[in-house]
């Protein structure tokens, strides 16, 4: 029995560790040691809380005090004030952005209030490196239930009835996938976890692996039982060293407890999991490319069919699911399909994790029921747009998705509604843009990414995306014409129709959706040679306002290329031929005397 009076939960996700949460843990332990409190107060490093905006986070239980942006040197105040004297450390409390009042309890933070956590249920709550904490939260009970009380067919049926759809992007019904793999007869079958998270700005899979690795292992074993497989593989990118380390620890602990390996829980079912490391290529998130990469071949996709469920890894039936999909499975088995399918919308059941990034106040990881609107996600949970700027668009679905605008804010988010609105769910990245973002540049940015990540196997993707990118560069440089806009649209459709795999079939989406929603910005670039958001450097000039300039010389001194001339107390002049448009002068000027034309 533990006699701890308090638990100090410190975030150990990649983001918070980069801000020295390791040192916070060490300092907290030192401070407790000095005061002889180590057997009364337990310090636990957990996975990601999701509130990355204000990390590192320290959560004091049981009074649920939520300290934000904690520095290693704050450990002393937390121990001295909160633990010894029983007073909350006011300066470390989260402040409500509207009222500026400190909010001590995470339950009263807008960020957490609307969330429902299924895949992230244990992230930020248990120590991911200690299997006992997972067991205490009913860990491996779903596997036990499946193995002893259910037939493989019943497991498949439960997942089918739950309505769970693949969280990796396409939204294929998970139960159906399992059923197909189960029906294909073979002596050897494989269960693969796709942890090759590649969308820019998406980090939910990493957070699940770092914060609750056992949930994925347990689900893979359940899947193995239902389709008749004894071997699981996790394809994880080598850029996720912490996730890999925690997976290794988790696999070792599960084997020691007999929850993986031979004859699990004495039921005769055996299942083992090994890791495969990817080099971080975006295309390897596509399941056929992923399988080739695991086989030691080039990470290139092949035409489906045959689907991996018929002929996958080493030519054997293979079931591939994403991390977040797996993380939802144990809960469905324990609580039942009828519990899960009450959450969400008609065709998209359960919850979805979103990674909020871009010009939003609360950058972080959230999980909400399907059917929550974009407005709730961005303005309530996300806390609205940074610096009080105006919302312009949100890109969902990463480089394969599209941008959604003001008119889409009240659309309930689910797989089908997002497609109907001209975007897609993707893996759940949401990049928020404000009035200062140029949508032509945004489309160009995503094309940059897909051109870089195209494997080069098929011509439409390899050459077509390159041409699209060149056209966009042309437009941003002020050399575009109206005919270029038609060319952009036509070429986009050709690439979509002819590319081999999902990467090429979706890569023109950002171009098409910005053309649809922000045609006026494209037109401004090609006809007026102006960038309305002042982002395209070729389409703007920094000019001195003669009325306001007092000749203080501050701008001339910060100019890195000596483009500004003028004597003291005389009006200055910016030479447009030398100016590199870095904006340093405008930022420096105290008299508002430099403007962009």
């Amino acid at each position: 029995m533990s006699n701890y009076t308090m638990h100090l939960l410190v975030c150990g996700g990649t983001g918070c560790r980069a801000s020295e949460s390791d040192a916070i843990v060490a300092n907290l332990r030192d401070e407790l040691e000095i005061r002889g409190l180590t057997d009364k107060i337990q310090v636990i490093m957990t996975g990601c809380f999701g509130f990355c905006e204000k990390g590192p986070i320290v959560n004091v239980m049981p009074d649920n005090t939520f300290y934000v942006q904690v520095k290693p040197e704050d450990a002393q105040s937390i121990v001295e004030e909160h633990i010894v004297k029983g007073r909350k450390v006011g300066r470390l409390l989260y402040r409500d952005p509207r009222t500026k009042e400190p909010v001590s309890d995470s339950k009263h933070m807008g960020f957490f209030r609307k969330q429902l956590r299924i895949a992230l249920r244990n992230c930020g709550f248990i120590n991911p490196e200690n299997i006992d904490e997972y067991l205490a939260k009913d860990g491996y009970m779903a596997l036990g239930k499946a193995l002893s009380e259910m037939t493989p067919e019943q497991v498949v049926k439960e997942i089918k009835d739950s309505g769970l759809r693949g969280r990796g992007g396409a939204g294929f019904p998970t139960g159906l996938k399992w059923e197909i793999a189960a029906k294909n007869k073979s002596d050897v079958k494989y269960v693969v976890c796709n942890a090759d998270e590649g969308d820019p700005g998406a980090f939910m899979d990493r957070s699940v692996l770092e914060g609750d690795p056992h949930s994925v292992l347990e689900a893979m074993a359940i899947c193995g039982y239902s389709i008749g497989s004894a071997e699981g593989l996790i394809y994880v990118r080598a850029e996720y060293p912490l996730a890999i380390r925690r997976l290794q620890i988790a696999i070792k602990q599960a084997k020691e407890y007999g929850l993986l390996g031979r004859n699990i829980l004495g039921t005769g079912f055996s299942f083992d999991i090994t890791l495969r490391y990817g080099a971080g290529a975006f295309v390897c998130g596509e399941e056929t490319a992923l399988i080739h990469s695991m086989e030691g071949l080039r990470g290139e996709p092949t035409i489906k069919p045959p689907f991996p469920a018929e002929s996958g890894f080493r030519g054997k039936p293979t079931n591939v699911n994403n991390v977040e999909t797996f993380a939802s499975v144990p809960v469905i088995i324990l609580k039942g399909a009828s519990w899960f399918n009450k959450i969400g919308t008609e065709k998209s059941k359960g919850t979805k994790v979103f990674a909020l990034a871009g010009k939003i106040n609360n950058v972080g990881l959230i999980e909400v029921p399907m059917g929550t609107t974009l407005r709730e996600v961005i303005f309530e949970i996300g806390g609205g747009i940074r610096n009080g700027k105006k919302f312009k668009a949100v890109q969902t679905g990463g480089p394969s998705g599209g941008c959604l605008t003001e008119k889409h804010l009240d659309v309930p988010i689910d797989f089908d509604n997002l497609i109907a609105s001209g975007s897609m769910m993707g893996s759940g990245g949401m990049i928020v843009m404000d009035e200062d973002d140029c949508m032509v540049s945004i489309a160009k940015y995503y094309l940059d990414f897909t051109v870089e990540e195209s494997c080069g196997k098929c011509a439409p993707c390899r050459i077509g995306n390159k041409r699209l990118h060149e056209l966009l560069e042309h437009i941003c440089a002020g050399k575009g014409t109206m005919a270029d806009l038609d060319r952009l649209r036509n070429m986009s459709h050709v690439i979509k129709d002819t590319a081999l795999c999902g990467l090429g079939q979706t890569s023109p989406n950002p171009v098409l959706s910005t053309l649809d929603n922000f045609m006026n910005e494209y037109v401004a670039h090609v006809t007026d040679k102006k960038c309305p958001a002042h982002q395209c450097k070729s389409l703007m000039d920094y000019i001195v306002n003669k009325e306001n300039c007092v000749g203080c010389t501050a701008c001339a001194r910060v100019c890195p290329v000596n483009a500004i001339s003028g004597e003291r107390k005389e009006i200055h002049y910016i030479n447009p031929d030398i100016c590199i448009k870095c904006g340093a002068c405008k930022e420096k000027c105290k008299f508002d005397a430099i403007y962009i034309s």
């Binding site: 029995m1 701890y4 009076t5 009364k40 049981p62 004297k85 248990i126 009913d138 036990g144």
Partner: protein, 129 residues
């Protein structure tokens, strides 16, 4: 390990996590707040708090024991506030280990009031809202 062993192990491990699990929705559990200002600590509030944490667990009562600041009843320290689910908070004074035991056995388990209750003689801005 069999499934029965796994369940047994889970039940053993559960109490270690109760502190965190119950803290998520304290309203549905017995909440004990121990006044831990200088006056409280000097009168033995720390021992009382530890007693509650240990004994609630041992007697299988799901509770959340937290510390709080001075309640103002310095003459009656150690003081504690007990909130049973769905009921108004009740403040007890002069809580030594013997009285703490009574509070658990009689008030928390059966709802029967015991000696040492301090009647609430003030309003806070929260209750006025």
């Amino acid at each position: 390990m069999s499934l029965a062993d796994l369940k047994k192990k889970r039940d053993e491990l559960k109490s270690g996590l109760n502190l965190r699990v119950n803290a998520i929705d304290p309203e549905t559990h017995v909440q004990v707040k121990v006044a831990m200002a200088t006056c409280g600590i000097a009168s033995g509030a720390k021992e009382v708090m530890e007693f509650f944490i240990e004994q609630l667990d041992r007697r299988n009562i799901q509770g959340v024991v937290t510390q709080t600041g001075c309640m103002g009843y310095c003459y009656a320290e150690p003081t504690i506030e007990v909130t049973l689910p769905g009921k108004e908070p009740v403040v007890f004074g002069y809580v030594n280990l013997k009285r703490a035991d009574q509070i658990i056995e009689r008030y928390i388990k059966t709802g029967e009031l015991v000696d040492g209750i301090i009647p609430v003689n003030y309003e806070t801005i929260h209750s006025k809202e």
